[in-house]
Point group: C2
Chain length 193, copies 2
DNA sequence: AGTCATTTATGACCTTGGTCATTTTTTATA
DNA sequence: TATAAAAAATGACCAAGGTCATAAATGACT
């Protein structure tokens, strides 16, 4: 199965170069032709791997989904609220690290979510992962049980992304985290129980 | 000042026809050339009025900003929480009424907000209007004073949009409103004070 | 009215995302 | 190894967004 290997390697090559170039020059300033040239393939071939230019980003967004699980796994114990807060902290950190890129994936992600109601994107993933975390925590320790994980996860996701969208351009990572922390504090007594 | 009248009328004509056509055929299935033709102007002229195709939508989004003030004015009294809830209700109703269109403006709005951190868009507007409402309510009636309107408005905006994004494709207006209502309920004891 | 400066309209043109019929490469089979 | 079928690569081609030099329209001033 030489074919499958090659396919995989080409796919990787495209994403690697594309992201690199997006980061350097900005999404709109990189043409598909340039990406293809950098990868040593024809423009048409690019579209054999990704139906639209944006799909490179959606593909990346998907890979962040498993990352969400990793982050959750990194904070296995302590009070649920603390765990959630630490998770948000890590997430925010990754966001600010890869800012340019995540800004883009965030847009495409939201776009895909709104236009097609597709499930497989970041926000839904994020929310689902959080909901599962809350459910699991409740099962393992009855004192941590939330009355409505669906609702609680929704609120948390909402405040996280809203803050990210509204503040990302005018505040430092610490500032944003502070805002998220205060919001979670304020909100927790309502949703945590 | 014939010129100014004409300019204004052309601008209006473009937005009217464009929105009409977007609603009928979908944003991507309407070309700028078609819009121009419908308006009796040349394609180039379109771009004299709007730098990009999407800006027609941003323009509309802006007009919804004042609509936000109207809605707020429509609910001048009662307990703050009730007012907020009724405002969200009206807003959601408008959203579902004009669903196709608002979906589009929502995307462009979020996009603009993320990429350029521009202030003059829907989400910031929404949040600001809500914050002002909360501040005003506190000034008029000390019992209604919130400790942190900035924070409270952020939470409310967050849960509203998050719910809209996540549920809009799979729930009725009532279902979505129900979810928003429950979330506000849960959250209010934390932010309302 | 005639002239000039400024604004607005125009359409030829360019760029780039995306399609598709055709060619090339890979795999399976005899 | 020869051959046929399937998959993948290719580049000519198209459509549509966006630019720009030029032309027309408008307004101010004499």
């Amino acid at each position: 199965m030489l074919r499958d290997q090659k396919k995989k390697s080409t796919r990787e090559k495209i994403t690697r170069y594309a992201l690199q170039m997006f980061k350097e020059k900005g999404y709109d300033n990189v043409t598909v032709e340039e990406i293809a040239a950098a990868c040593g393939i024809a423009k048409g071939t690019f579209f054999n791997y990704f139906p639209k230019k944006e799909h490179v980003l959606l593909y990346v967004a998907d890979s962040y989904a498993s990352l969400m699980d990793d982050i959750i796994a990194r904070h296995p114990d302590g009070p649920l609220k603390q765990r959630v807060l630490r998770i948000l902290h890590d997430l925010l950190h990754i966001y600010t690290q890869h800012e340019e890129l995540l800004r883009l994936t965030l847009i495409e992600t939201i776009k895909a979510e709104i236009v097609s109601g597709s499930e497989l994107t970041n926000i839904s993933n994020f929310k689902n992962a959080l909901r599962r975390l809350m459910e699991d925590a409740g099962e393992q320790d009855p004192r941590q049980r939330l009355s409505d994980p669906e609702l609680s996860s929704g609120v948390v996701v909402g405040l996280f992304f809203q803050t990210l969208i509204t503040l990302s351009s005018k505040m430092s990572e610490d500032g944003i985290y502070g805002s998220i922390e205060r919001q979670l504090d304020a909100v927790w007594e309502g949703i945590g129980r």
